[in-house]
Symmetry: C2
Subunit: 259 residues, 2 copies
Amino acid sequence: MKTLTVVKIGGNVIDNPKALESFVDDFSRLPSPKILVHGGGKLATRLCERLDIPVQMIEGRRVTDKETLDVATMVYAGLVNKKLVAKLQQRGCNAIGLSGADLCLLPAVKRSSVPVDYGYVGDIITDNVNTGALSSLLDMGAVPVFCALSYDGNGTLLNSNADGVASALAVAMSARQAVDLVYCFELPGVMRDISDSESWIPEINENSYARLREEGIVQKGMIPKIDNAFAALRQGVRCVVIKSSADIAAKRGTIIRIH
Amino acid sequence: MKTLTVVKIGGNVIDNPKALESFVDDFSRLPSPKILVHGGGKLATRLCERLDIPVQMIEGRRVTDKETLDVATMVYAGLVNKKLVAKLQQRGCNAIGLSGADLCLLPAVKRSSVPVDYGYVGDIITDNVNTGALSSLLDMGAVPVFCALSYDGNGTLLNSNADGVASALAVAMSARQAVDLVYCFELPGVMRDISDSESWIPEINENSYARLREEGIVQKGMIPKIDNAFAALRQGVRCVVIKSSADIAAKRGTIIRIH
């Protein structure tokens, strides 16, 4: 069975029309089977502002109330997802746009309101990902395109983290076939020196990761990303790569390995 | 092969939470294979108003400019479609939400800007409906839920009429299996007397239709609906029924037959 590639793109690609065009060109050319997971970008925030929906933050994280969930559903599952699908179809890539509720693909549990109530936010139950339906879609030659909305099994969509969706899909599908997980972002990889675009680190394993953290080279937002990558590897994902969305076909990027 | 049922619901059901709950209950219980097509309701108009997007009308019909198309994509393919999918999944109905761009299911041609430019409005090319992919989804046990957005094949979604989407799907799938087409609306069927809820006409054929028009019993918005029904029947659809969305499981309703 062929290796499945799960690619995650962040909001920065969605927000940049030129980067997006270049990305869909590259992604269309990647061999199948493949899955795309996308973040939402700033469109949801901008729509909330235009609709005078107040942004509530608790400890630096956004609260998803009922109105914000509706905006997320409109922007992520509607505008962003279907525009991506249309652009991919234009390039001969047989995309199908999906949320977690469709075919009950991404079952999740609403995060506890104690100690902090983040509202309609869900953590995906990786063991319950509907891998059977996903495999059927892939067997049809379809290219699933997921927004980061999961499903509580009881009639309600939940806002989820796009990195987490990509990782849950990759881990769940690893029970069926070899899976490579690619996190795309705005840099060529994990960088030694952010001001030197050639300083990407080709490979990180658990030993070198500990060292890079001690040295302060890996810090802030990169730490949960790499932690997630190691968690996915420990749960059966064959390979995790962190690379530039402008460069998914090229060899640059940081490969994460356990050993 | 089992008979496929294509059910279309209009915006009035979408706009009425109680009617919607009752409809999804009934639709979930209908035997598969089945397809749901939904209109958008007043949500798109309301969102346009909140966003100060002017409504442009030409000869009583709305113009879909770029901003209006984005709103339609958010509301129809996002909010309305995914809420329906979540509600159906809650009832054990294995729904998958779709636009015409997904799997290139509903190819359409942008309506000519001469003599009147309605903007991003598309007429579905019935012969090009991707019946192969649709059959694969139905074979998986999936229940496709379509919003009325079609696809120009060149990266752009197009606003289409939900009655037309339902009819195009029914006609196209008729080449593969027997198809029943059900148009749901707010009345028990085509009415002799709008003030008498028991006056629905059980059956209309071409002869009785001519008579009903002469007598002025069938008029206004009902005329294109019945014309479409006859067109679908002439193109292979087995049976067309016009009935109440509150009553899809029951026997009430108007059956349209050619003879």
